[in-house]
């Protein structure tokens, strides 16, 4: 095991397990870490400082936050770009690369861009690449190559992701001090409480920050709180869980590894804490310069030494805590540079002075020096108005820790409608107005910083949330934290004449860029943001919004207090698309005979949600299979699974009247035991569905509908009956009954072998008759229908008996050569008979008379669409659906090829088949009424532009006298 040059000795490191070493590759070289190490902590432990290259200038970048909040820690995993290396654990053996360079991470050829920064001012691309017209498409290729953010591996297989609904009385977002107190308070009042924390262990800042000189407070408090939380039966903890968004009515999106939790809470407490902020000075982005909290996380969570010669720059007492953390591990701190002139030394400062750490009060770091890492800093004395005076101090260092203030992590709260405002008193942002009803804030996000104030605020928020969720009365009240005024320096920004004083690290924006944006007239933050792209990078302004606000308001000569802040929108942190997609649910419906079709070699095709057999046989035998299936039906007997047909039971004393109103035909005098065609139109008179109505009893109809249309028909019927209030019960029984159409000249002969209680003779059971009885031992309903133009019976039976029915019919017909046929053969057969398919031969505008179905429209007092049909038929039709033929041997048009007259479109082909019985192609098409008479010719424009001449034919093409189906 290699020794780590920056790994602390001993057993320190809350998150790592030193008994479990892990190896990985970075830029082709093998490194070692421990289980629990992040990429960044392991690299730093090995002395690797440069982890990535910046977006625009390709400057070397290293760890800044150790909290997953900045782009500097982005690395490339084999199957995923932009992995946040500072919070992502290293998998054993993974091959990791840096990002955004040409050459190598260490020697990036594109670093040359850094020298041309002055030629790339803010907004330059809005002006530079769009002239002359069309130039952008050439620039785009180059720019995208230069300014990428990792590489997407299209061949990678995403891991299994799914979604889960969760519910809680109170949801606490954030497992820090305030969150823990809020959870305990809410749970004590009886609320089922879900505590969501994005870290491996609860405690928030208690895990890494220092609260007092002897560093004892945090340990004791954390131990106590965690014990209470763990024991409480009403508290459930989600660790490593990121709340990425708040949506209406306290609906939270929570990402936990590969699962997206959709959490509905009655009340929410946002205890997301605050983020330490960077300081602005020249070369403030050099590797080795990091937030003080990042250094503390490295030391305490990962047992990694951030640097051997640290310097601290601070604007509050917390910086002294960072210095003491170094001192505790026997690292000599070069200096503490305190921006404040007259700060009263607190206990931490006193302890630092006691330990002999040099302190420069009223000074600032004005410039960092170094190439690929910080090697020293120039320190300047500050004037009373916060301006750097002459720089005369240079301090060698390999690490600069910045602790100058905080930014409330209020994104989740703001998504709920809350707002932030700049507060002159505290020098930072604070909550201005409340969020959604039932959403509360607590802790440092609410401008409470002292540990006692944070605890009290958490308890109060938990109290209020529990009360909102219906658990007891509120018996606590909010109290301000006077120490909040000492946390953030109001203007930690020290521009340098030579620039490179970065404000937005994601986008490489400097002080000058923000000032120039304002100078160009964009003096509103939303405009500054869009013009300069400040706060638009991967960290979404977490470390740039506050300083951008300060600089822009200064440049615009406005008070930051009066500036409108940018809008916070979900997601709060990146969500992989795989997570959003999750495990998709796409229901599929199988008929009872589905497996029999598969066993018979059927090629299945979707029909809405259903799967239907298209034809039986190999894909390479499609044409032959369909031809053979049509021949069987015409010459022997075939069976087709029609279970997918919609089936509706309509009962009641007004059942006939209901059908009269819903469909275009007449049903009131339809005899019991007979079926009749159904045509449904919508209120605009357009055909929307068809089927048959079987009159089972005086007050009982059994109605069929199209496979894809039945759900809409059923909904429409329920709506209409709710309006009409007829005595009718309507039930969708589609799935309850299977259907088999046994059809062909030998259909009766076959069925007779299975039926004892139904007289199948033509006289007793004529065409369009309906009979109930048994087929074999299966109770069945038989209907004589003629969709494909042969003697046929549609047999409906309980779905659970569908497979047995299918088997028995096939067995009974085996001697006469029965064979199953699929949808493709059926389409051909029905076309030969001239029958339309609603949805294929009609569209959303087809009225019955266009489809030559005026015969199905009865003269009666009312039906849905009646008036619209009357109005439209009084006008001259603009198109007509006709049958047509093509000469034998013609190319077949595609369905939807246009019918044309010269350059005018007159319609389209809706159906086309090569008919075996006719010996030539036949089809249906919309044409102009002037060319709709039998014998008229019209042109069809093929997909490749060629034209075919077709001739209008009389329908049906086959058995015009209906002798075969009425056998």
């Amino acid at each position: 095991m290699a020794k780590f040059s920056y790994r602390l000795q001993g057993d320190g490191g809350l998150y790592i397990d030193r008994t479990k070493p892990v190896s990985f590759y970075f830029e082709g070289k093998v490194y070692h870490g421990y289980q629990g190490d992040t990429v960044a902590s392991a690299l730093l432990a090995n002395g690797v400082r440069v982890h990535s290259r910046s977006f625009k200038y390709h400057r070397p970048r290293g760890v800044m936050t150790m909290a997953g909040d900045d782009a500097a820690a982005f690395v490339q995993f084999p199957s995923e770009p932009n992995v946040r290396g500072d919070v992502t654990a290293i998998p054993e053996g993974v091959n990791i690369l840096g990002q955004n360079y040409l050459g190598s991470l260490k020697n990036d050829w594109l670093r040359v861009l850094d020298w041309f920064g002055k030629f790339l001012p803010v907004g330059f691309y809005y002006r530079a690449f769009y002239k002359p017209a069309g130039a952008w498409r050439y620039w785009e290729v180059l720019i995208r190559r230069l300014a990428g953010l990792g590489k997407v591996t299209l061949s990678s297989q995403p891991e299994y992701s799914d979604k889960q609904y969760r519910f809680a009385d109170v949801a606490i977002v954030g497992g820090g001090i305030a969150g823990l107190e809020a959870a305990l308070t809410a749970a004590e009042k009886g609320a089922e409480t879900l505590l969501i924390d994005d870290q491996p262990s609860l405690g928030g800042a208690l895990n890494y920050a220092r609260f007092d000189a002897d560093d004892a407070t945090a340990l004791e408090l954390q131990k106590s709180l965690l014990q209470r939380v763990a024991k409480h039966p009403k508290i459930e903890v989600l660790s490593n869980a990121k709340c990425t968004g708040w949506f209406d009515e306290n609906w939270l999106a929570v990402a936990v590894t590969n699962r997206l939790i959709k959490l509905r809470a009655l009340a929410v407490v946002v205890a997301t804490g605050s983020l330490a902020q960077p300081m602005v000075f020249r070369n403030n982005d050099l590797p080795g310069i990091m937030l003080g909290t990042a250094a503390q996380r490295l030391i305490r969570l990962y047992g990694v030494l951030p640097g051997k010669k640290p310097v601290i720059v601070t604007g509050n007492d917390d910086g002294y805590g960072v210095a003491l953390d170094f001192a505790d591990i026997d690292v000599r701190v070069g200096a503490i540079v305190d921006l404040r002139h007259v700060a009263e030394p607190g206990p931490l400062a006193t302890e630092a002075r006691t330990r002999g750490i040099p302190i420069f009060r009223g000074h600032t770091v004005f410039e960092a020096i170094g190439k690929n890492r910080v090697s020293s800093v120039r320190v300047a004395k500050l004037s009373s108005n916060n301006k750097p005076e002459k720089t005369n101090i240079q301090i060698d260092c390999d690490c600069l820790c910045v602790s100058i203030g905080y930014y409330p992590l209020a994104q989740i709260f703001c998504q709920s409608g809350g707002t932030l405002v700049y507060d002159d008193k505290t020098g930072s942002l604070q909550i201005d107005s409340a969020g959604a009803s039932g959403t509360f804030v607590a802790g440092s996000v609410n401008n409470r910083f002292h540990i006692d104030a944070v605890r009290a605020d958490g308890r109060c928020a938990g109290d209020m949330a529990a009360e909102y969720a219906g658990f007891g009365e509120v018996n606590s009240s909010r109290k301000e934290d006077p120490s909040a005024a000492d946390q953030s320096h109001p203007y930690p920004i020290y521009p340098h004449p030579k620039g490179k004083d970065f404000v937005d690290f994601d986008e490489d924006l400097t002080v000058n860029d923000i000032e120039n944006a304002v100078a160009d007239g964009f003096d509103d933050l939303e405009l500054v943001k869009r013009y300069s792209t400040a706060v638009m990078g991967p960290s979404q302004g977490r470390h740039s919004a506050l300083n951008t606000l300060r600089i822009a308001s200064e440049a615009a000569a406005k008070s930051p207090n009066g500036m409108r802040l940018t809008t916070q929108r979900p997601p709060f942190s990146p969500e992989p698309i795989a997570l959003l997609a999750g495990r998709g649910f796409q229901p599929v419906r199988h008929t009872p005979m589905h497996h029999r079709h598969l066993e018979s070699g059927a090629q299945m095709m979707p029909a809405g949600l259903w799967m239907r057999p298209a034809y039986y046989g190999g894909v390479d035998q499609r044409s032959t299979a369909i031809r053979l299936e049509t021949e069987v039906v015409r010459n022997k007997v075939g069976i087709i699974d029609v279970s997918t047909l919609g089936k509706l039971d309509i009962r009641g004393s007004d059942a006939a009247e209901f059908l009269e109103r819903v469909y275009t035909f007449r049903y009131s005098k339809q005899p019991v035991g007979r079926l009749r065609y159904l045509l449904m139109t919508d209120s605009a008179g357009a055909i929307v569905d068809d089927g048959v109505a079987c009159r089972i009893a005086e007050q009982h109809f059994y109605v069929t509908a199209t496979t894809s249309g039945v759900d809409a028909v059923y909904r429409n019927m329920l709506r209409l009956n709710a309006e009409w209030r007829l005595d009718v019960e309507i039930n969708n029984v589609t799935a309850a009954y299977c259907g088999v159409n046994i059809v062909g000249p030998r259909a009766r002969q076959t069925l007779q072998l299975l039926t004892d209680d139904i007289d199948l003779s033509p006289k007793a059971f004529p065409y369009l008759g309906v009979r109930d009885g048994y087929v074999s031992d299966i109770p069945s309903r038989l209907m004589r229908v003629g969709f494909v133009g042969e003697l046929g019976y549609e047999v409906h039976a309980p779905a659970n008996a569908g497979e047995a029915l299918w088997d028995r019919l096939l067995e009974a017909g085996s001697e006469v050569g029965i064979s199953p046929f699929g949808v493709e053969a059926q389409r051909c057969l029905r076309l030969e008979k001239g029958h339309i398919i609603v949805g294929q031969d009609t569209d959303g505008l087809t009225i019955p008379h266009e489809a030559d179905m005026g015969w199905a429209v009865a003269a009666k007092p009312f039906f849905v669409g009646q008036r619209a049909i009357e109005v439209q038929t009084e006008r001259r039709l603009t198109r007509k659906l006709v049958g047509f033929t093509l000469p034998a041997g013609s190319r077949l048009p595609d369905e939807c090829n246009l019918t044309v007259s010269g350059d005018d479109i007159t319609g389209r082909v809706t159906s086309i088949e090569e008919s075996q019985v006719c010996g030539y192609p036949i089809g249906l098409a919309y044409v102009h009424p002037d060319t709709s008479k039998v014998g008229d010719c019209f042109e069809i424009k093929l997909s490749d532009g060629h034209r075919l001449m077709a001739e209008v034919a009389s329908l049906p093409f086959y058995d015009p006298d209906n002798l075969r189906q009425e056998l």
Partner: protein
């Protein structure tokens, strides 16, 4: 017994046969008795388990006079919609709407009250003309699953947006909802000390839903079981 020996088959019979399931007949209804596997001998209350009850009798009753009609037949009515009540003969009567009911016959070895209704639920009857309510053919239109185990709430949360926590979804409460984007009826009826649910959904999507549940239950080590283990679980 061979599930193919009868005309009426669950749409899941192939999947169950593939697991080596032994089937049994209860008054003509074919159901899985024993499914080989690690839980074949006994079923712990916390074990997530799925059983196909689609072979057992069930029927719906719907119509303006449904309450009177069922009451005259001796059924006790749940007071509210979306709740259920066990009848004295073991039939579970769920009220889906003021005038719509679902009767499930899981508990008994014979189901005289429900069988009469199921037998009428065939093409041969002409009930509407006799002023009876509409018998909804749920025996054939819906599959019926039984889900048990302490993790059943968490597992269902991967498929359905309803809050099934004990505090929110009480015993014999009914939800008419969407499960894996499929219309479904979910009825909570615990088995012994184990959380348990009845799930009824579109028969045509039986295999789809079965696979969705097994997929969602994989992280909880879901097991397919037969009626025998369910009965033992109920007896504790």
């Amino acid at each position: 017994m061979d599930p193919l020996s009868t005309a009426y088959r669950s749409p899941l019979h192939r999947k169950l046969e593939a697991l080596g399931t032994e089937f049994m007949e209860i008054n003509g209804y074919v159901v899985p008795d024993v499914v080989p596997g690690s839980a074949a001998r006994s079923l712990a209350p916390e074990q997530l388990a799925l059983c196909d009850l689609s072979g057992l009798p069930r029927v719906g009753v719907k119509g303006a006079n449904a309450v009177d009609w069922l009451t005259k037949k001796g059924f006790s009515m749940p007071a509210n919609s979306n709740s259920a009540l066990r009848q004295s003969d073991g039939v579970l009567l769920a009220r889906l709407a003021p005038n719509e009911f679902l009767l499930l016959g899981e508990e008994s070895s014979s189901y005289p009250s429900i069988e009469n209704l199921v037998q009428q639920d065939e093409f041969l009857r002409k009930t509407a003309d006799q002023g009876k309510p509409f018998l909804v053919p749920r025996q054939h239109s819906q599959i019926w699953f039984r889900l048990t185990g302490c993790n059943s709430v968490d597992m269902l949360a991967k498929l359905c947006a309803i809050d099934f926590r004990d505090s929110n979804f009480k015993m014999l409460q009914v939800a008419q909802t969407s499960v894996a984007r499929l219309n479904a009826i979910i009825l909570r009826e615990d088995l012994g000390s184990s959380n348990a649910f009845h799930i009824l959904a579109d028969r045509a999507s039986a295999e789809y839903l079965w696979d969705c549940i097994l997929d969602a239950g994989e992280e909880y080590a879901i097991q397919v079981v037969g009626l025998k283990l369910l009965a033992e679980l109920k007896q504790g």
